[in-house]
């Protein structure tokens, strides 16, 4: 470690100032990065009370000498960068000389550090900005930092901190990111004196992922590599059936740093397009390596976002690497099998139409959206979707289509439309057989016309209503499972689950502990006999960690029910037997609010005989 220098004024201005410390997890991140920069081989993190009381990070890195430690929390003191040119070629995690200064101004910090060259170490401490001269002390080589009582002098911020388990889960997530980026470093994490995590130095990424996410996920990952146009990519990709409801399980790293990037995210999405449902997110670990001058990391206060000099090149190389890998892997046959009968192309097309229609309906309330029935809707341009049309584009496209249809018919009166009815009457008449179209929609005759049903949306709504009624009456029948189904969890998910156990048992889900990183499903709602309990619980967990942590119990329950209903409902693309179709329509009569799915989209469109007659000019 070199000498810490005060940065010249000019450079100070070049560095975007910003909020570095938001919560205990941000402190952990900064301290971890400093330890990594110091070349640590092992880093131990200990937190108390979610880090609100204490965060301690100990490393066995290069350490600091007397001069360095004295300057440690002087703002813009850094050993990592001394002139503006360096800013263009950053190789270290830190470079602003800002983190310790910010942390020290809002907490009680103590640092003990020793370099190999020194017999003894030095200690400094600082309370809300007041510090003292370094004092010699006995210490091992390396650095320990204690951060106590974060925000003790900023009551407004302190009050803003969440409960212990929430803060702990944020800490875990930060550690996970750094641990994934630096698999060769040994990490441990303990909370309130109990060791939560021990990740010995791993010889490869898969090993590190196993340590963090469990064997089940790690074993299914396939690897892809490429090295072109000075961009090196290493990817570990989960098969489509491991997809999640949030993008949280996508970890992207650039030169050893965790980043969020919408270009990369988009490329990953594109690569998986057609292989997973539109509302799911593939699990992927992507490591990018490029010369520091090809990217600007100084655009975000916590460096989580970066700016690529050529983001298109990054996008296309990520996409290309993944696509090529998928094409030659037997994954494709696995995908084909699991996709069931619909071929990939079909799946893409139907998904696209489904989305377009959903967007369309969402965008304009049904009463103002005259969906005139017209002939051919086949004018849809398929080539577009390679470019990934936006919802807006699709809507425009569809609008055009409908526009053309309307012009074809001479008048567009109010009644010439197919509208979502608030209270649909869906009694299929005796003669009324139900017809399934494109494995997505059901068409049935009613007493005075016809209805079109979105099979997934309607079934989802029915299940949701029935479930919530049953929960209300305390009558959820729970099917015990023969063998408990394990569900692997991250620490954050684990912490969250403890809080919602009660709610889950109300809906008939019984969980038991299953090792340190997993729970097992022991009983599951009987009515969802088609769902895979393990996958369903996984989905619930994924959704719940996305929710604001102060959500009320009812909101949590709603989310759980919505997840279960979605999982258990027939999907777009499922072929339904006649019996299933009539059952679905019969159930809709009993279900409340059956005209809209839990997400608010309409489930049933209705057209009366009178409207048909007008359309066909029989009047």
């Amino acid at each position: 470690m070199g000498q810490i220098q005060i940065l010249p004024e000019l450079l100070v201005n070049k560095i975007a100032a910003g909020e570095v410390v938001e919560r205990p997890a941000s402190v952990v991140k900064e301290l971890l990065e400093n330890a990594i920069d110091a070349g640590a081989g092992r880093i131990d993190v200990a937190v108390e009370d979610g880090g609100k009381r204490l965060i301690q990070v100990t490393d066995d890195g290069a350490g600091m000498g007397r001069e360095d430690i004295a300057l440690a929390w002087t703002a813009h003191a850094t050993s990592k960068l001394s002139n503006a040119e360096d800013l263009l070629a950053i190789k270290t995690m830190g470079f602003r000389g800002e983190a310790l200064a910010s942390i020290a101004s809002v907490s009680r910090v103590r640092i003990v550090s020793r370099t190999v060259d020194n017999e003894a170490g030095y200690e400094v401490s600082c309370e809300g900005g007041d510090s003292h001269e370094p004092r010699p002390t006995a210490a091992a080589v390396g650095t320990s930092v204690w951060v106590r009582d974060l925000f003790f002098n900023v009551p407004a911020r302190r009050k803003f901190l969440k409960g212990t388990s929430t803060e702990t889960s944020h800490v875990c997530e930060q550690l996970t990111r750094v641990a994934l980026a630096q698999s060769q470093v040994h990490f441990t994490l303990s909370h309130n004196g109990r060791k939560n995590l021990d990740l010995p130095a791993a010889s490869n990424l898969r090993e590190r992922i196993t340590g963090l996410f469990g064997d089940e996920l790690a074993q299914t990952l396939i690897e892809a590599d490429s090295d072109e146009r000075r961009i090196r990519i290493q990817a570990l990709l989960a098969p489509p059936d491991m997809s999640r409801t949030s993008s949280k399980w996508q970890y992207f790293f650039l030169n050893g740093r965790y980043i969020r990037d919408r270009f990369i995210q988009h490329a990953v999405r594109e690569a998986y397009r057609g292989l997973i449902e539109a509302n799911r997110f593939p699990v992927a670990f992507l490591y990018l390596q490029m010369a520091p001058e090809m990217v600007d990391v100084n655009v975000h206060p916590t460096k989580i976002e970066v700016r690529f000099r050529d983001s298109n090149a990054v996008h296309s190389q990520v996409l290309g690497t993944l696509r090529e890998r998928f094409l030659k892997s037997d994954l494709s046959s696995r995908m084909r099998i699991e996709q069931g009968e619909g071929g990939q192309a079909d799946g893409e097309k139907t998904e696209q139409i489904r989305r377009a229609v959903a967007d369309f309906l969402k965008a304009s309330p049904p009463s103002q959206a005259p969906l005139a029935f017209g002939p051919g809707s086949g004018g849809y341009s398929r080539s577009r979707h390679n470019k990934g049309p936006t919802g807006q584009e699709l809507r425009e496209e569809l609008n055009k289509l409908f526009e053309a249809d309307r012009q074809g018919s001479s008048s567009t009166t109010q009644s010439e439309r197919l509208e979502a009815q608030a209270e649909p009457t869906i009694r299929a008449t005796a003669a009324g057989a139900v017809l399934q179209l494109h494995r997505m929609y059901l068409v049935a005759e009613t007493d005075d016309g016809l209805i079109i049903v979105d099979q997934h949306a309607l079934h989802e709504r029915i299940l949701y209503e029935q479930l919530s009624q049953r929960v209300g009456r305390g009558q959820v029948a729970s099917q015990q499972l023969l063998v408990p189904m394990p569900v692997e969890l991250t620490n954050q998910q684990r912490a969250m689950l403890d809080k919602v156990q009660e709610i889950l048992s109300q809906v008939g889900i019984e969980l038991v502990d299953f090792g340190p990183t997993a729970v097992a499903v022991q009983a599951f709602p009987a009515m969802l006999d088609r769902a895979d309990p393990g996958a369903a619980v996984q989905d619930i967990v994924d959704r719940l960690v996305e929710m604001p942590t102060d959500s009320a119990a009812e909101q949590v329950l709603e989310e759980v029910l919505a997840s279960m209903a979605c999982k258990a409902a027939v999907k777009a693309g499922d072929k339904l037997s006649e019996e299933e179709m009539s059952q679905l329509l019969a159930d809709a009569e009993f279900a409340e609010r059956s005209s809209n799915c839990p997400h608010g989209r309409p489930t049933i469109l209705k057209m009366s005989l009178a409207e048909l007659e007008k359309q066909f000019k029989r009047t």
Binding site: D241, A477, M485
Partner: protein, 364 residues
């Protein structure tokens, strides 16, 4: 190539083999059957890459050897509609002619090159079992296997040979069926999980009860050889749940039923239940069983059954489908149910070869 085929046996061959094809697979070659005609006979081959089947046709008159790929669904339709007892199949460079007495079809065919081969058995080690027994085993297990692909290795049926016995186990995590049968000869003790699709394909081929079936396991595959048919399939990877540990051995309450009486009672008790009701409750009291099925939306049904019962009163609920599915396939007059206490797993047994564990449903 050219051959005159008996319509009925060609139809049967196409019916069976095309069950291996994944409908609407994106690879055109995989929508075809390979027709391979040699001096000694004609073979129809189909595969979806996971499972492949070769069906040797009897009653053909080979005029000229050769081979070609024919779209399976069209071929099947033509043969099905054919009014004659025989028809002629002729495959040329890029087309295939099918002639009956009054109709002539010319079908475009695809390249044979690249059509995956169905692997043959390569070792001597294998089991031998009578077709009829095997069929009975399939019927009594397959229904309990997981229907949709889940993350667990229960999307298939476990084969566990041991000495002169073969055991099969299937479970979907909520119930488990286990059946045993005697082998003609053993030879391997390796266990394997056979995909459900392969199981039902095999089921279609087991027509003659007395025929011998040879089964071999090799490199993650199962190869099954019947006099006319060879099936080769990949196995389901993964570990099967430890079924022995989930079969309760300490159930002290034993009740005997006439299988058809219990079937009828369960069917009637579940008439008013819906997909999402609380299952059918069984209430046992002195020499009496009352079955109740109710759903908030429809109402309630009650059925009484006189039985021999001298234990403490006991109540347990099951998903009626699980019980009905088993009762339909047991094939014996009597069936027994073993229980331990309220809301504990039930074990159905019939004969000394079939066992079925059903997990209870309870109000949470």
């Amino acid at each position: 190539m050219k051959a005159i085929c008996n319509r009925a046996s060609l139809l049967e061959a196409l019916h069976v083999t095309s069950a291996a094809i994944t409908p609407r697979t994106p690879k055109p070659a995989l929508q075809c059957v390979l027709v391979d005609c040699q001096e000694e006979g004609l073979t129809v081959v189909a595969t979806d890459l996971q499972v492949g089947i070769r069906y040797r046709l009897e009653q053909v008159e080979v005029k000229q050897a050769g081979r070609g790929l024919i779209p399976a669904d069209r071929f099947l339709a033509i043969v099905r509609e054919c009014p004659d007892d025989t028809l002629s199949v002729e495959i040329g460079e890029s087309s295939c002619r099918i002639d009956t007495s009054d109709s002539h079809f010319t079908l475009n065919t695809s390249e044979v090159e690249g059509f995956p081969a169905v692997r043959e058995a390569n070792g001597q080690d294998g089991l031998k079992i009578k077709a009829g027994l095997l069929r009975g085993m399939i019927h009594r297990t397959l229904f309990a296997a997981a229907k949709e692909s889940s993350r667990y290795a229960i999307n298939g049926v476990l084969w566990a040979p041991e000495g002169k016995n073969l055991m099969m186990v299937a479970t979907d995590g909520r119930r488990l069926a286990q059946v045993q049968a005697e082998l003609i000869s053993g030879g391997t003790e390796a266990t394997a999980i056979v995909p459900t699709k392969t199981m039902s394909l095999l089921d279609r081929c087991l027509v003659e009860a007395e025929e011998q079936v040879w089964v071999g396991f090799q490199e993650n595959r199962i190869v099954i050889i019947l006099p006319r048919v060879t099936i080769s399939s990949t196995l389901v990877e993964g570990t099967f749940p430890k079924y022995n540990e989930v079969i309760p051995h300490d159930n002290t309450v034993k009740v005997k039923f006439k299988a058809d009486a219990l079937l009828s009672a369960f069917r009637r008790a579940s008439l008013l239940t819906t997909e999402n009701s609380q299952g059918v409750r069984m209430q046992f009291s002195k020499d009496r069983l009352v079955l109740t099925g109710r759903a908030a939306e429809t109402g309630e049904g009650k059925v009484e059954l006189g039985i021999e019962y001298g234990y403490d009163d006991l109540e347990v609920g099951f998903n009626p489908h699980y019980v009905l599915e088993a009762l339909r396939v047991v094939g014996t007059e009597e069936i027994s149910l073993e229980l331990k206490a309220a809301n504990t797993p039930g074990v159905f047994r019939s004969g000394d070869d079939f066992l079925y564990v059903v997990m209870p449903v309870s109000l949470s």
